[in-house]
């Protein structure tokens, strides 16, 4: 949880909150949000902003996680934050995708949990093996 949310908020932080948003403009379709949404509630402000700005109303929270008004504003963001926008998108996408793993883990349990016990049991056996070999030789 700390890792996933840490990656999410770090990505949003370095991009000024512009790494994750939904845009109805077909010239700026944000397919990255498909990977970002599985992070859960932290992605909801983008959904709220999309609903609020759908009718042309101004965005809430000072434009946090809101789509740009036009491509010019998007260009200004890229000019201001440089590579941080792309890095923020990568961080937030990875956070969303990792949360799918975490959800699956919560649903089905660790994939190789049996190996933990198997490894613990295997180590003492390896230590005992020379003794077993010796006893085998005596018999």
């Amino acid at each position: 949880m700390i890792c996933i949310l840490g990656a999410w908020f770090f990505g949003l932080g370095i991009s000024g909150g512009h790494a994750a948003y939904i845009n109805s403009n077909p010239e700026d379709t944000r397919w990255s949000f498909v990977a970002q949404l599985p992070v859960g509630a932290p992605a909801f402000p983008a959904l709220i902003q999309a609903l609020v700005t759908r009718d042309g109303k101004p965005p809430l929270f000072g434009g946090f996680m809101a789509a740009p008004r036009d491509l010019d504003e998007l260009g200004e963001w890229h000019l201001e934050y440089d590579h941080a926008i792309e890095l923020g998108i990568v961080y937030t996408m990875v956070a969303g995708l990792l949360n799918i793993l975490a959800i699956y883990d919560a649903f089905a349990g660790p994939a190789e949990a049996g190996k933990d016990e198997a490894d613990d049991e295997a180590e003492p056996e390896e230590d005992d093996s020379p003794a077993d070999a010796e006893s085998g030789g005596d018999s």
């Binding site: 840490g6 961080y91 990875v94 956070a95 793993l101 975490a102 660790p110 994939a111 933990d116 613990d120």
Partner: protein, 69 residues
Amino acid sequence: MIESLLLAGLWDTRLWYAVPLIAVISLVYGATKYEAPARIARSAGETALWILVFMAIVYAVIWVFSWGL
């Protein structure tokens, strides 16, 4: 010249953004595979190494193909 360019690339600050990302991916992936903290840490280390090796291979391939450009 080439060595200095490589070093400049390695020490470029943007590359350091990969470090927390690799750590996060490795830890979460390890935690989904195992329960014991020690096993998770070992798995995370192995995964991080795999990612770094993979990144180095991709870097080498790109570097070879960009030779002479």
